[in-house]
């Protein structure tokens, strides 16, 4: 029915819905918090509890005997543990080696900035709204300062011993006492209160002014991020927070003439060795963002997005295996052996990449038809048989991937362009895998004490990200296997999922550490980090499988029927129809699983790895200078964990909105 056929007087115009009334603050408080006597009582009790808690927390955080220097001095230790093994005083090469860490951090931040531009993240924010947020933030800061611990002692009406009246007067007295104490702020507390109040008042006045102007002043929300970054940099360069550092051996002469050894503190600003790199990274990131925006407006977003996706995929292995580890490829030495790249890895690339690529190109020809699928099936069987024969581990992995590509050749190759892309994907994947395996097998030339070059927050991130990324395909396969119509897949997947879900993660870790060696053929041994990654991956995959299975069951049967009626193969309908819908539906569960894995990495201390929690819990309280200072460290790492997991949930909300969850 076309729109022109409907007579226009029937259509008319829609009336503008009345704007929802926006109550001013005082009315809002009266209506929502004090509407009835019961509500009023609840509000007062809640306010009392909140005030009590905030006051004690602030008192605890800012108490003069808090050992926060234990955290501040050990920040580098927290982030990268003992990387590299040397220290600034001992090794002139230290700066060069530590620069690897800065390069890693910087490249991730720059990639993030480029991604913000390529995916056009951010929206317009009304200036008035922003300023109201600023006003609220300032008010909160002032309020916290107001509720803080007293700087002057005021004692009123305490110790009155009359029954009933005594305690009552005592409560009134302490309330009055509290108010008087609060009003008599001095020192740092007063400064913070004034700053908070000033921000609140300024925000209020400016928001009133912009509102009256009548224009809809708006700016891009990313300016808030850049502004916050610039403000943080300013604080780093200007604020007199001071410089905490360790002196390993001997002692160092400070600027004020004193000498110091062990844990040292130099008043002034943060060391330029920290603020310098951060400034450089920030400038490069902002410049990259604007350049990317320019590029997107010229050639469109798609090419940049493809390149960025490739870089993000490769970023984790490149940073860990190449930048931080600095593998020594030994290309110029003579001789053979399985670790000599020109002898083995190049040949592996030629055989699997070139010859294998030709095989896959042949298998994807339309006229191969059934023969193509049969050959693919044979190759899968052959690749599984490779696990029984002693050979290099990487041959098994690449062989398995080759079989997977061969099986999919008939389903995923279409016209000539599609076939070229499919073969190109295989060759690219082989190249990447060969290079990565060569890097893993090469010796690292960075000196580290102990088992591994990864520790602290770096280790937590590497473990969490690798486990999450690797557990995805395994979890997907298990979920599809569990809902498959073929009994062998169903049984195997169910056994795996139910077995792993029944064991606590810590048990899985210990099991892998002690017993896996006995199960593996030959003299294959894994280092602790690999063991932790394998354990985390297999553990997370079981939970992921169940999450995805929930999504699979949410797909209406009609989708399968329509796909089958059109002649799509099982593989095609799974990839094109089922998985996109199922994964969209379970994004909240997947993000929850990611957060859980991120926190579960704290259990790897059990196999001797120095992760973020272990450092706070055991290592720092054992340092002679900071003996027994545990609570401050725990509070610090809790805040850091919370910061990351909260960002994950916020990002997930954005992702859900972007894929249109709940819209169809």
């Amino acid at each position: 029915m076309d729109a022109e056929m409907i007579p226009t007087d029937v259509m008319g115009g829609d009336d503008l819905a009345p704007e929802s009334p926006h109550l001013p603050a005082s009315l809002w408080v009266r209506e929502n918090l004090f509407s009835t006597k019961f509500n009023a009582a609840l509000t007062l009790i809640a306010l009392a509890i909140i005030g009590f808690v905030v006051r004690n927390m602030v008192a605890w955080i800012f108490a003069p005997n808090r050992g926060w220097e234990a955290v501040a001095t050990n920040l580098r230790f927290y982030m990268v543990q003992a990387y590299p093994a040397s220290s600034p005083n001992q090794d002139p090469d230290f700066v060069v080696q530590f620069a690897r860490v800065w390069v890693s951090v910087g490249s991730v931040i720059v990639l993030a900035a480029l991604s913000l531009a390529a995916w056009r993240v951010g929206s317009k924010v009304a200036a008035t709204k922003f300023l109201k947020t600023v006003r609220a933030a300032g008010a909160v800061v002032a309020l916290v300062a107001f509720l803080g611990p007293p700087t002057q002692d005021v004692d009123l009406l305490s110790g009155i011993d009359f029954p009933v009246v005594g305690p009552l007067l005592g409560i009134v007295g302490s309330l009055l006492g509290f108010l008087i104490e609060a009003a008599l702020m001095t020192g740092g507390r007063l400064v913070v209160f004034l700053i908070g109040a000033a921000i609140a008042v300024a925000g209020h006045l400016v928001s009133k002014a912009t509102k009256q102007r009548g224009d809809d002043l708006a700016f891009h929300s990313l300016w808030r991020v850049f502004g916050a970054g610039a403000a943080a940099l300013l604080v780093m360069w200007v604020a007199p927070i001071g410089h905490y550092f360790f002196v390993g051996t001997g002692s160092v002469l400070l600027d004020n003439g004193e000498s110091c050894s062990g844990a040292c503190f130099e008043p002034g600003t943060i060391a330029s060795s920290t603020s310098g790199p951060w400034t450089v990274i920030f400038v490069i990131a902002v410049a990259a963002y604007f350049l990317a925006r320019l590029g997107v407006s010229l050639v469109g977003a798609k090419p940049l997005r493809s390149i960025l996706l490739l870089f993000w995929t490769l970023s984790l292995p490149i940073i860990v295996l190449f930048v931080l580890r600095d593998p020594d490829f030994n290309l110029d030495r003579e001789g053979g052996g399985f670790d000599f790249i020109p002898a083995t890895d190049v040949w592996i690339w030629v055989i699997f990449g070139i010859v294998g690529g030709l095989v896959i190109a042949a298998l994807s020809l339309p006229r191969m038809g059934e023969v193509g699928r049969a050959v693919g099936g044979l190759l899968v069987v052959a690749s599984l048989a490779m696990w029984a024969v002693p050979m290099l581990m990487r041959l098994r992995f690449i062989g398995f991937l080759f079989a997977m590509f061969a099986v999919g050749a008939q389903s995923f190759a279409g016209d000539r362009r599609a076939r070229i892309r499919y073969v190109g994907l295989w060759v690219g994947l082989t190249t990447v895998m060969v290079i990565l395996f060569a890097a893993i097998n090469a010796e690292s030339s960075v000196a580290v004490p102990g088992k591994t070059f990864l520790g602290g927050l770096t280790l937590t991130f590497v473990l969490a990200l690798t486990s999450i990324l690797l557990s995805f395909p395994i979890g997907l396969l298990m979920a599809l296997g569990r809902t498959s119509s073929m009994p062998i897949f169903r049984v195997m997947s169910t056994i795996y999922i139910e077995l792993v879900r029944g064991i606590p993660f810590i048990t899985v870790l210990i099991f892998f550490d002690l017993i896996l060696i006995l199960f593996l053929p030959g003299n294959v041994s894994f280092d602790s980090v690999t063991l932790a990654i394998i354990a985390g991956t297999l553990f997370s995959a079981a939970y992921l499988a169940e999450n995805v299975r929930g999504g699979l069951q949410a797909i209406p049967k009609g989708q399968y029927e329509a796909a089958r009626a059109m002649g799509l193969s099982t593989l095609q309908l799974t990839v094109f129809i089922v998985l996109p819908q199922a994964l969209r539906a379970v994004i909240p569960a997947l993000v929850g699983q990611t957060i859980a894995i991120f926190k579960d990495t704290s259990l790897v201390a059990i196999i001797g790895l120095f992760d973020f929690l272990f450092i706070a819990d055991k290592v720092i309280p054992a340092q002679t200078i900071f003996l027994g200072i545990k609570l401050e460290n725990i509070v610090f790492i809790s805040a850091v964990y919370w910061m990351f997991t909260f960002s994950f949930s916020r990002a997930s909300l954005r992702l859900e909105k972007k894929v249109g969850l709940g819209e169809y």
Partner: protein, 246 residues
């Protein structure tokens, strides 16, 4: 009509769901370019019957031969038959995460291996044929029911089938939209497509059908031309059914 060969031949087709027998021996044949309308009360097995024709349901006894290929457990046969038989469902079953254009071109690109540009050209021609070329980049959720069903018809036609099966295509639509879908189906019939339509739309049957089959309790009770069927039905059961719906 007599020199057209039989494109669908069913002999004694029986199907059970557990203990319940849904089809009790269907013997019928459909000639090329014939339009067969299947009517009957709910639960009579008419949907089950046409779903056995493209193996969405599996028949336990009897033979079904479509375009010379026997429908059996042989996967190759099933694939060949499915590429020649298109189906339109009551619930549309469009893929909600793909645009209309992607819905239509998915199977031609990945099953028939057509190049993308050619598939999109053909898809636009089909969208014009069903009357909604401007909706190509929209998502199914943004379309009305009648538009969605027309997209579903275009999607089936994209695979260039020889036979089109319609399982109550207008039962889930508002009365205002039924006409637009029936118009498309009429045009399809007049252009020479072999169609089997399960429907309650008697007007459509009278206008377009070459033959009407009346199903009840898993059997074909009566079959005949629309004139014969609606003016002088033979069986009492048919008379009872027609008296209730006309």
């Amino acid at each position: 009509m007599n020199d057209k060969r039989d494109i669908i031949v069913c002999e004694g087709v029986k199907k059970w769901f557990g203990d319940f027998q849904a089809l009790k021996g269907i013997t019928t044949s459909v000639k090329e370019q014939e339009v067969v309308v299947v009517i009957g009360p709910s639960g009579s097995g008419k949907s089950t019957f046409i779903r056995t024709l493209n193996r969405l349901e599996v028949h336990q006894e009897g033979t079904i031969i479509i375009d010379g290929i026997e429908l059996s457990n042989d996967l190759k046969n099933i694939e060949k038959i499915r590429s020649e038989v298109g189906m339109v469902f009551q619930q549309f079953n469009l893929f909600p995460h793909l645009t209309v254009m992607q819905n239509i071109t998915l199977a031609p690109i990945w099953v028939r291996k057509k190049p993308k540009a050619e598939a999109e050209d053909d898809a636009m021609k089909l969208l014009e044929r069903v009357g909604i070329p401007e909706q190509a980049e929209k998502f199914p959720g943004q379309l009305s029911g009648g538009q969605q069903q027309r997209v579903a018809i275009a999607r089936s036609l994209a695979m260039e089938p020889k036979i089109m099966l319609f399982d109550e295509p207008t039962s889930a639509l508002d009365p205002e939209m039924i006409k637009e879908v029936l118009d498309v189906m009429k045009e399809l019939a007049l252009s020479g497509m072999t169609m089997i339509v399960v429907t309650h739309e008697m007007g459509f049957a009278k206008e377009v059908a070459d033959r009407v089959l009346f199903f009840d309790y898993g059997l074909v009770v009566e079959e005949g031309t629309p004139e014969h069927f609606f003016t002088s039905p033979e069986h009492d059961r048919t008379k009872l059914f027609l008296s209730q719906i006309l």
